[in-house]
């Protein structure tokens, strides 16, 4: 798996040479677009990060976890990973910090640790991705996109907790 990216890069560049296109100019032209792209994403990132960091600093998320853990336990999700499932749609780095906490507290190879790994690996930062994708377009109404993605995260989390019991 370590070779996927290098092989990919070499293939594309060498193929470009064989086809006699200007590889250097092409690369520079493409790379130029990255600045506009990240600039248009920045304000959305800032808004999301402010919300999440205020939520974590105020400790409100702990109350939310306490409130939500009984229904989660009912479907087989241990309380220890509810915070992770709650923060995951909003922030990659924030939920990574929570994952590290879970590892430290319960052990990497414990059931809870493996659950948390699987939840993190199989879910996506839905709100973050949405702001990144739709920045720079005129889209205001995203329809079912976010609800479906969130629902899948939830199902994935529950499935992860069940699968970690048997696998």
């Amino acid at each position: 798996m370590n070779y996927v990216v290098p092989v990919l890069l070499i293939t594309v560049l060498v193929y470009g040479l064989i086809k006699r296109v200007n590889v250097y100019d092409g690369f520079v032209l493409g790379a130029k677009k990255s600045f506009d792209l990240s600039l248009s994403i920045f304000p959305y990132l800032a808004a999301t990060f402010i919300m999440v960091n205020c939520l974590r600093a105020s400790g409100l998320d702990i109350y939310l976890v306490r409130f939500l853990s009984p229904p989660f336990r009912l479907v087989g999700v241990p309380t220890e990973v509810v915070q992770l499932m709650l923060l995951r749609p909003f922030t990659g780095s924030g939920s990574l910090a929570v994952l590290a906490d879970v590892y430290k507290q319960y052990g990497v190879d414990s059931y809870v640790g493996r659950c948390a790994s699987c939840i993190f690996g199989s879910s996506e930062t839905v709100f973050y991705v949405a702001s990144v994708y739709f920045a720079g377009t005129k889209v205001k109404h995203t329809g079912f996109a976010i609800p479906i993605a969130l629902f899948c995260n939830l199902v994935g989390g529950i499935a992860a907790c069940l699968l970690c019991k048997v696998m």
Partner: protein, 185 residues
């Protein structure tokens, strides 16, 4: 998003004001500088991939890829422009190869091709869901972290993770079909 963001942020700032009024501005400023750092890091990542994508496009590699993936793309996304089909194919290929870094810039380029109105189209919703639930062959971040914390077998979550992502992909794509019907050809 407007209501969710405002309600949560106001509630959190209010609670934080009770605890420690001085920290409110610090937290906000820390967050925005964190956002700036992330945006710059993303800029670096996109720079590499968008550069390589452009080369692939110039030598018609993307065209070939999208011809191979045409049947699948037609079914998932319906009738989309040639440029969008190229980006969508790159996106699918990056997801399948597990190069998540490359999946995002190609998805953004595709969205910018397909979305011209204010309401997200069926293809846009599908692209979003496919990416949000994408099958992951190797959860590299998690494996790396487990290894660094002394796990006995850091890679033993690959299988449950693979099964979970397969389940979420199927459910997600199925739900798009339920909500929006089949793709128009």
């Amino acid at each position: 998003m407007n209501i969710v963001w405002t309600v949560v942020t106001v509630a959190a700032i209010a609670a934080l004001t009770f605890l420690d009024p001085q920290s409110v501005l610090t937290v906000c400023l820390d967050s925005s500088s964190q956002a700036l750092k992330t945006a710059l890091e993303l800029c670096a990542v996109y720079c590499v991939w968008l550069g390589v994508f452009q080369v692939a496009e110039n030598c018609r590699l993307v065209e070939k890829l999208s011809r191979i993936l045409k049947p699948l793309n037609k079914r998932l996304y319906g009738n989309i422009s040639e440029a969008a089909a190229g980006y969508v194919s790159l996106n699918l290929a990056s997801n399948l190869l597990g190069v998540g870094n490359a999946a995002t810039p190609s998805a953004i380029s595709a969205i910018r091709e397909t979305e011209k109105g204010e309401t997200l189209s069926r293809s846009g919703v599908m692209l979003f869901v496919v990416n949000a639930t994408s099958v992951q062959l190797l959860p590299t971040t998690v494996i790396g972290m487990r290894a660094s914390l002394g796990s006995a077998n850091p890679a033993d979550i690959i299988l449950p993770n693979l099964v979970t992502t397969a389940i979420t992909s199927v459910i997600g794509i199925a739900l798009v079909f339920v909500a929006y019907g089949r793709a128009k050809k």
